[in-house]
Symmetry: C2
DNA sequence: TTGTAAGCGTTATCAC
DNA sequence: GTGATAACGCTTACAA
């Protein structure tokens, strides 16, 4: 029933006093156990345990000049798709004794610079950035701190930055080609907002080029850019079916837009994918579980986090690493719905 | 094209030298601008800017004994539902100049203690814990550090801990009552694993008591406990329809199980919710967007993060705060599907 | 193998 | 309003 005794947290010198050794020995015993005599080790460990000693991270960081902390800068955790990556990243870092500092910027470039600065100030040992397009000031800041970093969720075309990701353009091309193979010719795209989002841009490009290579056009009226929300997906679909002559395939910039578009189809009494094939990127798992016949691309989002962690940890360990790692994008076709006869 | 000049990051004394003032003044100018003469202030700011000065967080933390960092311990980020809360938490903290340290334990109590310890070691100023059931050792650790904390995503019945959450039991009761009102009498529940998860437990309790109060039983064969995965949801549903005599309403422990169950219904050619009403807790938004007529409960998961942040920040600011804040759980009925005639 | 002691870069307490 | 200077709690040469 009583609160625990210690009113003041124990420090290294307290442990040293109790174990009757110097602080240096305690420090060694705790971080390099093999460097002290077994007997001393157990004495120190016992003392530490009875005092409930917990190291003071800031002091340790100040003295050792490393924090065992990695910062991640992401657009948002709100859009659940990044959560998978972050979860995997966190798990991999934890296994290596590192902790994750998280910051999000809500697709605002200025905020991104600000939160990254905050992370540097916190003394992170490394940085994971989502996406390849960033304010030059951000890279300048990172460089001036000689901070190890890795970009993820995309591949840096310029080859200037270490990155782990997949080729969004290629994925889009494959998705569009697949739909073409099924016989679709009337396409529409509800894209994400391409400014400040190279993922959205690459996906649009990939679709365009796949269509072009088969002589199919994407008319301006069949393209709209929307923010990543369900309601925007609904609006986007309404624009597409507005004229009465619908496309047979609608490709959405991400899962959120696709789900919104499907919801609107249901509201309009349009069968998906029989009457309109709706598809999208990122996490289409739930949608495909609930909609047989859907065409989807699967992105290995968790692997992204795992590889990003390994890349960074290797660099921190002084190993040289392949600066550019492309992950396979697995195209899963869960159904093969051809366009309806016209 | 050239990399930025500074090979070594500037420190406070560098700024002081350039501005021709003492380090004390620089420190003041940077954190308490109103305490220095305007002229000095601009001199210091200019010097800091030209040197690209970024404060050393560890040193600052060591000297000031605060890190402006809050730790959050969650079961997983994998199950997207907690991501909303974390996102809101992060946003609220960021606005107050705090950074979020994230740790997850994957529903393992030992790991939870370990990662919480790591967070304390990192010197967080406060802690957010998800759920109310935790290892006593965890609370002992927190107490011995006199660490401010708040539990969230549930209400602590014992009243011993500050918390911000909603009443899962009440939500379950309301959901079951609603289905009873619609005429359902044959119930089944695909629950989460109740051991080590008081949310799952409370939801099961709530359903049970609502049924009992109307004289309806939940037979053992109509109850199964499953981990929170889609495939477990599918299996759960198979168990329920096994005998041939189906329940008319299946309540699932969370959204993931519900979506799995619905997927299995589709696979079996069973119409949801016309033939079986499937429902669940947490995030049923996507499911309901894609399935008209679904009965769902809406949980204010983002508000949870916002309130948790406010609670902690208020305490850190020395204000006294209401230690127990219950958030309303809004029952949204998006359809009113009665049981099919038998 | 262990101890001594010099930092690590800030903040905070004093005088001035 | 500003400047010395002593902490803050730990790591790490270097010495013993």
């Amino acid at each position: 029933m009583k609160p625990a005794k210690p009113v003041k947290a124990a420090k290294l010198s307290d442990v040293a006093r109790l174990a009757k050794v110097s602080t240096a020995t305690v420090s060694r015993a705790l971080s390099l156990p093999h460097k002290v005599k077994p007997l001393t080790l157990t004495r120190v460990q016992h003392a530490a345990r009875t005092l409930g000693y917990v190291a003071h991270g800031a002091a340790r960081a100040l003295a050792s000049r490393r924090t065992r902390t990695i910062g991640a800068v992401i657009p948002t955790l709100d859009n659940a798709i990044f959560a998978n990556t972050i979860h995997a990243l966190q798990t991999a870092l934890d296994a290596a004794g590192y902790t994750l500092l998280l910051a999000s910027h809500g697709f605002d470039a200025d905020v991104e610079v600000r939160v990254t600065r905050a992370l540097l100030e916190r003394g992170v040992d490394g940085l994971v950035l989502l996406g390849t397009t960033h304010d030059p000031a951000l890279f300048r800041m990172i460089d001036s701190h000689q901070m190890p970093y890795v970009l993820t969720w995309a591949l840096d075309a310029s080859g200037k930055h270490p990155c782990v990701g997949f080729d969004n353009r290629a994925a889009a091309t494959r998705l569009a080609s697949h739909l073409l193979d099924l016989g679709h010719r009337e396409f529409a795209m509800i894209s994400g907002i391409t400014a400040n989002n190279e993922r959205a841009r690459e996906r649009l490009d990939g679709v365009r080029s796949a269509l072009a290579s088969r002589g199919v056009r994407l008319p301006a009226a069949r393209l709209t850019e929307k923010p990543f929300t369900h309601s925007a997906g609904r609006e986007g679909l309404l624009e597409m079916i507005d004229g009465g002559k619908w496309p047979t395939a609608v490709i959405c910039g991400n899962d959120v837009l696709a789900i919104g578009a499907m919801a609107e189809c249901h509201a309009q009494g349009i069968a998906v994918p029989q009457q309109i094939s709706i598809t999208g990127f990122d996490d289409m798992e739930i949608a495909s579980l609930m909609t047989p016949g859907l065409t989807t691309v699967h992105f290995p989002t968790a692997e992204l986090g795992t590889y990003a962690a390994h890349h960074l940890l290797s660099r921190l360990a002084g190993k040289s690493v392949d600066p550019l790692r492309e992950l396979p994008v697995e195209l899963i076709v869960r159904g093969t719905t051809a366009p309806p006869p016209r």
